[in-house]
Subunit: 480 residues, 2 copies
Amino acid sequence: MAITRYQNLASILSQRIEQGLYPAGIRLPSIRVLSKEHGVSITTVQQAYRELEDQQLVEARPKSGYFVSPLKTRPELPAVCSMSQCSLSIPQWDQVLEMVGPLKDGEITFVSAAPDVSVSSLRPLTRALSHLSQRHDLRTLSYDDVRGSLELREQIARLLIDSGSHMDAGNIMITNGCREALSIAVRCVCAPGDIVAVESPSFHGSLQLLHGLGMKVLEIPTDPVNGISVEALELALDQWPVKAIMVTPTAHNPLGYNMPLERRQALLKLAQHYDVAIVEDDVYGELSFGYPRPATITSMDDEGRVLLCSSFSKTLAPGLRVGWIAPGSYMNRAVHMKYTGSGSTASLTQLAIVEFIKQGHYHKHVRRMRGQYQRNLAIMTGWITKYFPCGTRISRPQGGCLLWIELDHGIDTQRLNALLAEHNISIAVGAVFSTAGKFHSCMRINYAQPLTADIENAIRQIGVVIHQLLSRSGFGNSVK
Amino acid sequence: MAITRYQNLASILSQRIEQGLYPAGIRLPSIRVLSKEHGVSITTVQQAYRELEDQQLVEARPKSGYFVSPLKTRPELPAVCSMSQCSLSIPQWDQVLEMVGPLKDGEITFVSAAPDVSVSSLRPLTRALSHLSQRHDLRTLSYDDVRGSLELREQIARLLIDSGSHMDAGNIMITNGCREALSIAVRCVCAPGDIVAVESPSFHGSLQLLHGLGMKVLEIPTDPVNGISVEALELALDQWPVKAIMVTPTAHNPLGYNMPLERRQALLKLAQHYDVAIVEDDVYGELSFGYPRPATITSMDDEGRVLLCSSFSKTLAPGLRVGWIAPGSYMNRAVHMKYTGSGSTASLTQLAIVEFIKQGHYHKHVRRMRGQYQRNLAIMTGWITKYFPCGTRISRPQGGCLLWIELDHGIDTQRLNALLAEHNISIAVGAVFSTAGKFHSCMRINYAQPLTADIENAIRQIGVVIHQLLSRSGFGNSVK
Ligand SMILES: Cc1ncc(COP(=O)(O)O)c(C=O)c1O
Ligand SMILES: Cc1ncc(COP(=O)(O)O)c(C=O)c1O
């Protein structure tokens, strides 16, 4: 395990150097500081620095410490491209693009973070859509208020009570899914070039978003059960002018943890102390298995410092593309961005969701899905334990429909996925959840869908290919 | 009229100084150059410079010309605001926000640029929406390809043949309305701080978009019949490092002109010569009255330099929020922005539009709307001629559903609108169509809706209030 620890740290440091967080010529943090920030031993930090010396990224100067080599400088932002078709130099984008493309025929995919939409408890929603359309309701065809349907915002304010927040419609704006909410939130509080601290691993959509907007991403060590390390975050805030912290404290994607309440409070206190904004992604909030669901960080904030982003994509259906932002004190900017970025949001789906909630279907449906996901989680964990090599590490989600799996470090899940393609199976590779080159032996799978025999066979098949890879590379029995 | 001309020019120049296009201390263009750029007399330019001297914005230096005063410097971008609710310092935003808010009860509004959606020829569309929902089609609930429905993109490629373009689905990406397309297009070709040349007047949404993204807007003199002045544009391209030209050559909002074919060609040639991108807003393209509709600038481009933006908001219904971008050589960047900015687009509305087109309703509907708008235009022009003071200037739209009206220059339409509120009537004030402080005596009205007696009465009422304003200010008979 020591080998992995120092390599991991080395890759984080080299990413920070490449992003310009540690510019050329600057003194790097002391071994003691890094050991504290990353919760690793002194020896591990020393090994990491030696690795970076080998890569000529850093230089040791006797009695002074380690310095960033003058050779490596911060890479430029992608240039505004001229006429020829230029590719994007954003890490992992090609891999992500492959993930979001159309399905192949007969493919069994564990890639997406989508919920199960085939359930009967969604019927009243499609019925509401159908009725509203049939009535030729002119509201569904016209430009809506740029902030979204007032009725829907009122209903969302009501739903948010469970998360500990007391808002009204005026605090909420409807968006095209959580993704538009996140994009608006980040631009409310950051300008290009700013530093944003994130959990590591993080949802690839958020990482891509930050890179696309020209932000520098600071990946903070994150515990698979308790979430982002507040200690490591504090050290980072001390070192850099971080502008925002972006977290998914409830049913995290991909790790599945619920951040404990005290840690949420500590995070907010830290943000207050360093005057940093928090972007809280609560898209899985209502899918937390426990009752009551954890209070959001937003609900603890009385300064408008936290921007809450969410959607009905995970609780109802992603194809609706209805999300929202509660941007705290940033509403003015948020409305301007919405107006200029996409205008008002489609009305039909908003009005149908209002019907669905008003008729009392919402809570029933979400309760049912929580149950289904919790049962599926137990079955899926069982299958993976059964079919994957022993030593495989598995997350313990407290909500949502995603499982994070760490394989023997000799295995590259990118390669695994290529082999699985021959069996018409696909997984989400770990590498896209970091831009620091981490998680190459990790994968994320979705367990939302009904767990049929076909699914079990696919999991078994994945296990077979992993075993083949291990025996081929002679790693077979070296698994910890 | 001379009075207005020089004031107009003075306001353009002062805006350019404030935007930093002419930085402090720099020599301003000669009187001859300005006279040529703006098509005004030498005397007019001299008067404009004198006006700016009075405002202490410029200084005359004997034998050398005019210079930007050191006092006035380029205003900073809006700061990333800290925790307290900060207002946006973007010109006209408050006025625009008022326009896009919800309707008041019983209000007769001419404000929006929306089409008539109450017509029976849209019934098959709402029927398709209803059927798709009823079937509980899982595609309507799931994440779609981030580029949008393949079928819809194929249909759009087919529709684009009328505009002279031969594309396939791979050249097209679906967006949340034309607005998202425009936002993506601008970010494909510009970085914050870049200069974008636009028509003057321009759609307020585009102006707000450019300001929100931190671009500098260069308003180019625009002829109400032939469109943007290619001569003035050439002088501007010669003077500044313009990155993009944003135009609506067909059924322009608000002026209604169709730019003649030769002018489109000249514009493209200019863009090629100065290596500048063109963002072509074709949202009213299919509502051009004449047959066949004018060829887009996009169709003349073989380098991927023109980014075409459009939507079904004007031809079908804005509430659908389905638009598209054909980003030429910038597809990679465009897809990344879409993925991170809002994710995939809602599928239900896309699939319903596919049905509507496939069943042959699209062309029938659009033909019908063109006829309705052309008839309405004649009636509305008649009413305005009848009820408004003589001397009122009226545009001659060649498509779309918008009329641009220039009143006596003593009238501020912002004030007019305030008075009209007492009668529950509202218009779009001219000021929001410029960020250079122009068009204060102009207004835009929508003539899409069925022209009932109530509408006629509202137009008559507007005429009455204008007459009152004129007689109060003693301007009554000074109208040219
Ligand atoms: C953590 C997280 N945030 C946001 C999103 C995007 O949600 P939406 O589909 O509503 O844009 C996802 C979807 O995968 C997610 O996992
Ligand atoms: C010229 C122009 N472009 C774009 C738009 C926005 O279109 P959409 O509603 O499809 O976003 C409008 C709407 O008013 C417009 O007039």
